[in-house]
């Protein structure tokens, strides 16, 4: 391959990512330390007010008061994303294991069925849960049908949001878990059985360790987008239970505090980069052990 093509072939990709991604993120970093403009927007400068605002509110006489309002949103984001990831792990492991045991033909069909909903527009998938969980929705009707009390209020709860997140991201967990579970040599499970290990010993000592790479990869694929999720908190959480994604969104919409929105975006970005770096470090360490 000629040197010129090597160079020019990559120019469009680099130009696109520099222009629409790398430079803009640097600008976000700049805006997060800018001053809030009088009529929305911002004025360049160096001012840590936006970051201070995450922890403190300013009282009447300019004194700083600790206010955990935004810390609570960050904590809620981490907890909900963690819960969605944990539920995805608990669901994906048995389902992926079950798929791996089927005939070659059925495997393809089942994997196709796992990926198919992922192609359906995100907004439609979240809307569907709105119908199911909503007031006088399907769930309430079914509950009443079986003699349950006249209850309501499935919607606009943490449960509704986490259900929506699990539903949105579960294929991203099943596929990598399946990839690692499928490779498990049945002889290893038989060996554990020959050594008088029961099914649960085999699960704990053979299957789980061998599924671990898939579980970690899947967890990252689910956890990272869950941290930045916007639609589920807005529609299924009713906008009452803010998460970081929705908090950022409102700062650039109604609230019009761009520097504060940029600061929260930087916090979210930092959290994601930490997760990705930890994963990369773990991967290199494993590679070193393998060598």
């Amino acid at each position: 391959m000629s040197r010129t093509f090597r160079f020019w072939g990559l120019v469009p990709a680099w130009a696109l990512m520099l222009l629409t991604l790398i430079v803009p993120i640097l600008i976000v970093a700049g805006v997060s330390v800018a001053e809030r403009g009088a009529y929305g927007g911002f004025d360049w400068g160096f001012d840590i007010t936006s970051y201070r605002q995450i922890l403190f509110t300013e009282g009447w006489t300019d004194e700083l008061e600790f206010d955990p309002k935004y810390l609570a949103i960050i904590a809620r984001t981490l907890i909900f994303a963690g819960a969605a990831t944990a539920i995805c792990v608990l669901l994906a492991l048995p389902v992926a294991y079950y798929i791996a045991q089927q005939s070659a033909r059925l495997k393809i069909v089942l994997l196709y069925l796992v990926t198919l909903p992922f192609w359906v527009s995100m907004i439609v998938r979240v809307y569907a849960w709105l119908i199911i969980l909503g007031n006088d929705g399907l769930l309430e009707r079914v509950y009443r049908l079986f003699g349950g009390a006249d209850i309501s209020g499935f919607l606009f709860t943490p449960g509704a949001m986490i259900t929506g997140m699990v539903y949105s991201y579960i294929p991203l967990m099943i596929l990598p878990v399946y990839a690692s579970v499928e490779k498990i040599d049945p002889a290893l499970i038989e060996a554990s059985h020959d050594l008088y290990g029961g099914r649960w010993t085999a699960l704990r000592r053979v299957i789980l360790p061998l599924a671990a790479p898939g579980l970690t990869a899947g967890s990252i694929l689910v956890f990272v987008p869950s941290l930045g999720t916007v639609l589920e908190p807005m529609l299924l959480g009713g906008g009452k239970q803010l998460m970081m994604g929705t908090l950022i969104q409102t700062q650039f919409g109604g609230a019009r505090n761009w520097p504060f929105g940029a600061a929260i975006a930087m916090v979210l970005l930092t959290l994601v980069v930490i997760v990705l770096l930890l994963n990369a470090r773990r991967a290199t360490r494993q590679a070193e052990v393998a060598l």
Binding site: F5, A13, M17, T20, P94, L110, Y112, Y167, G228, G245
Partner: protein, 264 residues
């Protein structure tokens, strides 16, 4: 009776329940879209009138047109950019900056979309770009590129270099060899990548919602505004049409992928 020690009790019912749960929401939307009643969850009879209403909705058709325009242009740009990058990154293995370049191409997949959306929003406001359509095309091209890149790269990596070398031995110019040998062989990957990019652009909500200005309201953003006004059977009909389109495209991509895998 010997029991299969590889299976676990409850695995089968749990998996069946899982698949039912996976398709329940889609089924509910499709089912209620044929409901005669104004109220979404009160079934009174079969009717296709909400489809007629949806097709006559001018705002909906306008949003669809914007979405299709943005998706077609972004897909074309993203696929070309991804194709060029994939050729260089799979064929020039000894190149400097190869790993960095790969990471850069895949960057939109690694970072949270809301952060990228905010970043382009601020950029466009700083450089004074006001054309809504152009803003959407630029942003969509960026996040679609990795979706086009990954299938093309997979196809290029799975392909033997022998054919290209044979063509070069027969004095084909590099571009001729690419056009007549490499391109036809990787075409399934290119189509799979382009269609994935197209679906991602059509489906996008976060970026399009934040950039929503200058009359450039995409279909998901319009649907969101409808949902805000309350659930209606017409919304179910629109959703069902979207579901049908997505599933059709998804099936096409999966068939292309399967065929590509069988051949290599």
């Amino acid at each position: 009776m010997s029991q299969n020690i590889r299976t676990y009790p409850g695995l089968r019912p749990l998996s069946i329940l899982f698949f039912l749960w996976l398709y329940l929401p889609i089924g509910v939307v499709v089912f209620y879209s044929f409901n005669d009643n104004r109220l979404v969850s009160v079934w009174t009879g079969f009717s296709t009138k909400w489809y007629a209403a949806a097709l006559e909705n001018e705002a909906l058709m306008g949003a669809l047109e914007i979405s299709l325009t943005v998706a077609l242009i972004s897909t074309l740009c993203a696929t070309l950019i991804a194709l060029l990058a994939a050729i260089v990154l799979t064929r020039a293995t000894d190149m400097k900056f190869r790993r960095v370049s790969e990471t850069v191409v895949n960057l939109p997949l690694l970072l949270p979309e809301i952060v990228l959306a905010v970043a382009v929003l601020i950029l466009f406001s700083q450089i004074g770009l006001t054309n809504g359509l152009l803003k959407l095309v630029l942003a969509h091209t960026a996040f679609c590129t990795p979706f086009a890149f990954l299938p093309i790269r997979a196809r290029l990596q799975g392909m033997s270099l022998d054919f290209e070398e044979a063509a070069r031995d027969l004095y084909a110019a590099p571009f001729t060899a690419f056009r007549l040998v490499t391109l036809p062989m990787i075409l399934p990957g290119v189509f799979a990548g382009a269609m994935t990019a197209f679906v991602m652009s059509m489906d996008d909500f976060i970026t399009s919602n934040l950039l929503n200005s200058g009359g450039a309201t995409t279909l998901p953003v319009y649907i969101f505004s409808l949902i805000r006004q309350g659930t209606t059977p017409e919304l179910n009909a629109i959703s069902t049409l979207l579901i049908a389109a997505s599933l059709l495209l998804a099936t096409l991509v999966l068939i292309l992928n399967a065929r590509a895998m069988r051949r290599s």
